[in-house]
């Protein structure tokens, strides 16, 4: 299971990578694997204002659809347009090419509500027991 060290995680299996004032958002390898072959992603609109833990995207496989919740509050800066034609990038590269969107986050203190990689690892191991 690939769980990179430098990211923040949620219980719903989203991740956030923080680069200065910008956060990149996606779903974890674990989530992508559980869904199977991803066929479609509905992304937020650029400029949309999102509140931490609010719905921000939908990810679909052939027989399942999952809502994605944003790890941090803020404004959407850009979306990963590659995913429109190549949703399989999420299966192949959940943390890099398969990211969903970037955002300018508004409250760094919200990070406290997220897990680090060690806690997330533990959390995921607990789920599969």
């Amino acid at each position: 299971m690939n769980i990179p060290k430098n990211l923040f995680y949620t219980k719903d299996h989203e991740w956030a990578r923080i680069e200065g004032k910008v956060a990149y958002i996606g779903i974890t390898d674990y989530a992508a694997h559980s869904l199977g072959d991803i066929t479609f992603v509905q992304l937020p609109k650029i400029g949309e204002l999102l509140k931490q833990s609010a719905y921000c995207a939908t990810v679909e496989s052939v027989k399942a659809a999952s809502d994605v919740y944003v790890p941090l509050s803020g404004k959407v800066l850009s979306v990963n347009t590659q995913l429109a034609t190549n949703p399989e990038l999420i299966n192949q590269s959940a943390y890099e090419q398969g990211y969903f969107f970037s955002m300018e986050f508004s409250d760094a203190a919200e990070k406290a509500k997220l897990m680090d990689s060690a806690s997330y690892q533990q959390y995921v191991e607990g789920l599969s027991k």
Binding site: T39, F40, Q42, E60, S61, V62, K63, A64, A65
Partner: protein, 443 residues
């Protein structure tokens, strides 16, 4: 009559495998207090007896009337091959093709149906069918509300009143604002539309030909609708699409309609066929089943139900619609009907309808006191103004063997003397002339 194959011995053997003494024991979870207070039904009858009973009831319905009633539901000819093919029980005793490997016939037929609906309307995508034209309109409206995130609907009053009433019923518990714009001289009123069109409008709904039979070119209005970011929905009459400008050519985003005219009998109101086509950008907002083409593990072409994450069995309360089963067998009728007619037959069908209606207009306009409304062109249905109440005329014409039309006063206030007359390819010159003679006699 019973269709149960079990012998007494079978039942005994099965009960002993289950480990119970009687069938009653199988129902012991139902508390005695919940057993039926009554179950007062008639005794069983033989197939012959039931057939006789229903034959007598069928005979109580009028079959001999020469029919000029349309109003959205038309008396078209159905080639025998349509009945023969849909009567194959490999089609009609199957269910929704959940398992594609043992349902390729159905899946391919639906894919072909979708393709035909796209060809008729000019639009990009079609679903596998909906219940009827009215529910299809409701679904189209819901698509527009979701797509735009707005809640105002502008309805042209030339849309069949039955459908408009259905929309109001379906939205009693929803916060949707409806505006109806009037029809003036049979045509949609541009000024009124532009008065109400705004950036809160989710969709504008037109019908072509409209309920009065009038044909229009909606391109200019659709263009305005799009300027406000709203969607344009057309209620279309498929037979007319053998001649009339398509929803796509006029810029419509969604076309829906009643597919009954495509090889489906009138059957006192159903089962019918709701069809829906849309621009490809809207495909994920579509309701109902959709069939797609793909390949098997050897690379051979095959068909599957696809984009199912829109649907209730996966998305539950977030689904685009609650629809589960649709009207597949009626869709099959439509695809067989169109395949038989082919490109030329379909044009010919439209041409015959148009020609016969024009002949009827010409013939009826010669009757003293009958005024054929000619402010708009028509396809196979038109409005006439009578010198007296249309209800009375209709009643008298029934005695003469004609269902001579639909009295508009039933649906529109102040139009008591107006009659809507439909002339399909089935009506002969002789019948039309007799209609005129009889009408003259009863006026």
């Amino acid at each position: 009559m019973s269709y149960i194959p079990h012998t007494a011995e079978d039942i005994q053997q099965m009960l002993s495998v289950i480990g119970v003494k009687s069938i009653d024991e199988l129902f012991k979870d139902i508390p005695l207090g919940l057993r039926p207070k009554s179950f007062n039904l008639p005794a069983s009858k033989s197939e012959f007896q039931v057939t006789q009973t229903l034959h007598k009831l069928a005979a109580k319905n009028a079959t001999g009337l020469v029919n000029f009633v349309g109003a959205g539901f038309y008396d078209h000819f159905i080639p025998a091959a349509v009945d023969a093919l849909v009567s194959r029980s490999e089609f009609y005793t199957a269910y929704t093709p959940y398992q594609p490997e043992c349902a390729q016939g159905w899946l391919q037929a639906i894919y072909e149906y979708q393709s035909i609906i796209c060809e008729l309307t000019g639009l990009d995508v079609s679903n596998a069918s909906l219940y009827d034209g009215g529910t299809a309109l409701f679904e189209a409206m819901m698509m527009a509300l979701r797509h735009t995130g707005r809640n105002k609907i502008i309805l042209d009053s030339g849309v069949n009143l039955i459908y408009r009433t259905m929309l109001y019923t379906y939205t009693l518990n929803l916060a949707i604002e409806f505006v109806e714009i009037p029809v003036v001289h049979g045509q949609s009123c541009r000024e009124e539309l532009f008065k109400y069109l705004d950036d809160q409008t989710a969709a504008v709904i037109f019908q072509n030909p409209n309920f009065f039979g009038a044909v229009d070119d909606y391109s200019d209005m659709v263009e305005q609708v799009h300027k406000f970011g709203a969607l344009a929905i057309e209620v279309a009459y498929p037979v007319s699409l053998g001649m009339l400008k398509t929803p796509q050519e006029m810029g419509f985003d969604i076309a829906i309609g009643e597919g009954q005219s495509l090889g489906i009998p009138l059957s006192f109101g159903g089962p019918y066929l709701g069809f829906m086509a849309a621009r490809s950008q809207l495909v994920r907002q579509m309701p109902g089943r959709i069939v797609g083409s793909t390949v098997d593990s050897d690379g051979r072409r095959g068909f599957v139900l696809t984009l199912q994450t829109r649907e209730q069995h996966i998305r539950r309360e977030k689904a685009t619609s609650n629809i589960c089963s649709n009207e597949a067998l009626c869709a099959l009728r439509a695809v067989v009907f169109i395949s038989l007619l082919g490109r030329e037959g379909f044009k010919e069908l439209a041409e015959h309808n148009y020609q016969k209606a024009e002949f009827a207009k010409e013939t009826l306009s010669r009757i003293n006191g009958v005024q054929v409304k000619r402010s708009s062109p028509t396809f196979n249905e038109f409005t006439v103004l009578l010198p007296r109440h249309a209800d009375e005329v209709v009643r008298r014409m029934i005695d003469k063997g004609f269902a001579c039309g639909f009295p508009l006063g039933r649906f529109y206030q102040g139009l008591d003397n107006y009659l809507l007359i439909a002339v399909t390819e089935k009506r002969t010159k002789e019948e039309i002339c007799r209609l005129a003679d009889s009408l003259e006699a009863v006026l």
